[in-house]
Symmetry: C2
């Protein structure tokens, strides 16, 4: 078992989300998808924006690096106009979808809308369209996503990420508590899990 | 040809420095060693310390991650008491040593002193001992390292790193200007270079 911690606003979470299922299946490992929000974690260390915006050289590098990574992975990539995006609604919906068993497809569809099509996933209309494309009733799902239960579940998820020492996304946490940060650490996290089974 | 930009204070530059020569040789690529200082670059973006000290969660992760990487690479690792270390003198000496043809061994020996033996490489005594261990006269080398010519060469090296968009170490820059950041991007930088030869 491996926990995959991701944030829809996180650029490197996109290639990770698109390849984690296949790589984990090959390794015989069950992956638990754990959506969370980086905003509160960044705020706690004094950042009010993405470090890729706060530090322009790092930001320029990241977009170039992401373009190369997507090309190598044969993944379509289109830089969205807005970065980072407001992912609160999409993330609450992800909790609902994952609990109902259609969450992984939904998450990949959100990432595709955002980073392959370059769309804004912050608004209810885009999220509703992605829900509908999964064959689900958008209105009912959005209503549940707005419930106190789901809001609290997301708050608890962010608090757990902080307790685990997570400071960026994607992150992978093994059953024995090893933290691996970054799309480029997915293989190492899987290997660690295989070696300790 | 691939430029290997490194800083002696940079933890991830250690495993990179210890493996770059072998990997590049296998790929048939000449590597140019480019020591520089991260301090001025960090200061320019408002940091007065290593980000691994400024952001404790990131720092805790880095030490753990480095331990795992060194173990996987069969590289001895001992966390030095002082971090980051003052690398000004060691870096000036590196410029002298690289110009004289014994620089790569010297750089690996500095990294070994710092991260395998956990020693402080900030002082002239440690640097002198490393120079002597390369069979060179420490006094003469240190005198040259203190010359205006070498001081200016290092300033120019840092300025070039900034012009190239370098914001961290290790970094790899290909002949056609592609920047790759991080020990974990060494393979990608070599592959890029091979594919464009």
């Amino acid at each position: 078992m491996l926990d995959f911690w991701f944030e829809f606003a996180s650029t490197y979470s996109y290639p990770a989300a698109m390849r984690v299922a296949l790589l984990a299946e090959r390794a015989g490992i069950v992956v638990r998808w754990r959506p969370f929000l980086l905003g509160p974690i960044f705020k706690a260390q004094g950042w009010n924006d993405s470090p890729f915006n706060l530090y322009p050289a790092k930001g320029r590098y990241m977009w170039r690096d992401l373009t190369r990574i997507c090309a190598a992975q044969n993944l379509p990539f289109k830089r969205p106009t807005t970065f980072p995006q407001n992912t609160l609604l999409a993330t609450r919906v992800a909790l609902v979808a994952l609990a109902q068993g259609w969450g992984e497809d939904y998450c990949r569809a959100i990432y595709t809308a955002e980073f392959a099509d370059g769309r804004d996933i912050g608004g209810a209309d885009t999220v509703a369209a992605v829900i509908a494309a999964q064959g689900k009733e958008a209105e009912a799902v959005l209503e549940e996503a707005a419930s106190e239960r789901v809001k609290n579940a997301l708050r608890e998820q962010v608090a757990e990420a902080q307790r685990l020492g997570i400071f960026g996304a994607p992150s992978f946490v093994t059953a024995d508590g090893e933290l691996f940060w970054g799309n480029d650490r997915l293989e190492a996290a899987l290997e660690w899990t295989v070696n300790r089974k």
